[in-house]
């Protein structure tokens, strides 16, 4: 058999597994583009978890009570853990952690644009947990069924931890809307600023999405950007109403026939602009990541030195 025939046979077997809803595991043969596509998506997801710690970390010393501070700290710790799960899943595809970090820091790899928006007030800690984690959950629940085994299992683990994130965020909003008029206004302002960027988290319309078709065929993605976004719009409408806040989308209207909310159009210019690097915080986020990484270099060096010393001792003893 020629190597070409071999590849097409392997490709056939691969597609057969995908169609049969079987997972692809690290040692299985897979098309190079499937591998690349996954590395792109999983590492981007990992970077988002890690960069996402910055806007929240900024509020640790400004939490209104020790209790809120402990909760926020716990949530941020979870996000660091999610980054780890995802980097590890990507590493099973043959890319190293260093390569991924380098791609992030040089700007070749992306992370969720939402984290390029600044967190300005304590209410933003509420809106981020509720809306940003909420949107992430809708996406991650769907990805529990992704075709790559390690990614799917990582998603299952992450989803178990996420519910607390969204609830603590909503809990902050509830407290604010039941507080003084100023506090309620702060919650409204935060909702206004985060609602649309949260919708953008689902990516461009299906008709505009470059990676979508192949990702759906390979079952890396299980639902389209627009379908996931619709789910989020639907579930969020009643949550906004319950808070007694004004909905930021003035065109939002229940569509009896569709069984969904119709909604206004996203400002796609803003979306593309932030992706292109012109958001409020793009530069700051990367600079901070690089700074933290460089300042932590001595820890990594110490670990390697300690390891070498221990091994030298062991050979000496042997």
């Amino acid at each position: 058999m020629s190597s070409e025939q071999q590849t097409s046979l392997q490709e056939k077997q691969f597609m057969h597994k995908i169609k049969a809803e079987e997972k692809i595991e690290p040692k299985d043969w897979m098309p190079e583009k499937y591998r690349k596509n996954l590395i792109r998506q999983i590492s981007q997801h990992a970077h988002s978890e890690v960069i996402g710690m910055q806007p929240e970390g900024n509020f640790l010393t400004r939490a209104p009570s020790l209790r809120r501070k402990a909760i926020l700290l716990s949530k941020i710790q979870d996000e660091a853990g999610h980054g780890l799960y995802l980097y590890s899943a990507a590493e099973t595809l043959g890319i190293s952690r260093d390569e991924m970090i380098e791609a992030l820091q040089s700007g070749r790899a992306k992370y969720a644009s939402i984290f390029n928006y600044p967190a300005l007030t304590w209410a933003d800690m509420g809106a981020i947990g509720w809306l940003v984690d909420g949107a992430a959950i809708v996406n991650q629940v769907s990805l529990q069924r992704t075709s790559y085994g390690p990614y799917a299992r990582g998603m299952i683990r992450i989803c178990k931890e996420e519910s607390f994130h969204q609830r603590q965020g909503y809990d902050i909003m509830l407290t604010l809307v039941n507080g003084s008029p100023e506090q309620k206004a702060m919650a409204q302002d935060s909702l206004n600023r985060f609602y649309w960027p949260a919708l953008m988290m689902f990516g461009p319309h299906d008709s505009e999405s470059a990676h979508s078709a192949k990702s759906m065929e390979w079952k890396i993605k299980r639902e389209t950007n627009d379908d996931l976004r619709q789910k989020f719009i639907d579930q969020t409408a009643s949550q906004i109403e319950f808070l007694g806040l004004e909905h930021p989308d003035k065109e939002l209207k229940w569509n009896e026939e569709r069984g969904h909310y119709d909604s206004g159009e996203i400002d796609w210019d803003e979306f593309h602009n932030v992706i292109a690097g012109n958001g409020h915080c793009n530069r700051q986020r990367l600079e901070h990541h690089i700074k933290a990484h460089e300042e932590g270099a001595w820890v990594r060096e110490a670990l390697v030195a300690y390891n070498a010393k221990k091994q030298a001792k062991q050979t000496e003893a042997a």
Binding site: E22, E25, R67, G134, F164, Q166, R167, Q168, Y170, Q235
Partner: protein, 95 residues
């Protein structure tokens, strides 16, 4: 008594694609390659698995059950890490 026992290996089996490898037991073997074949013969006679991992038992580093209280303790006083800590009204309690 002459000590000619072979080394102990731990066996992990993935029962179905997409699931984690689960520990199923151990066996004696002269090396990894043989351990894989032995594991196939003794642990998957009824197609219990689609993939096997074997690990030298001596290479497994385990936490001590006796120390579990100290080892895991710091997490017990953080109830706010659980979703159930936040009581939300029924209308929005599905998050």
């Amino acid at each position: 008594m002459q000590d000619n026992a072979l080394e102990l290996f731990e066996v992990f089996i993935r029962s179905k694609r997409g699931l984690d490898h689960k520990h199923v037991g151990s066996l004696h073997s002269e090396d990894h390659e043989q351990a894989l074949e032995y594991a196939r013969d003794v642990y998957t006679r009824r197609s219990e698995g689609v993939s096997i991992w074997v690990v030298r038992s001596a290479d497994i580093c385990a936490s001590q059950e006796d120390d579990a209280e100290d080892f895991f303790d710091p997490n017990d006083d953080k109830p706010y890490r659980h979703a159930t800590y936040y009581t939300l009204p029924d209308a929005v309690n599905n998050m």
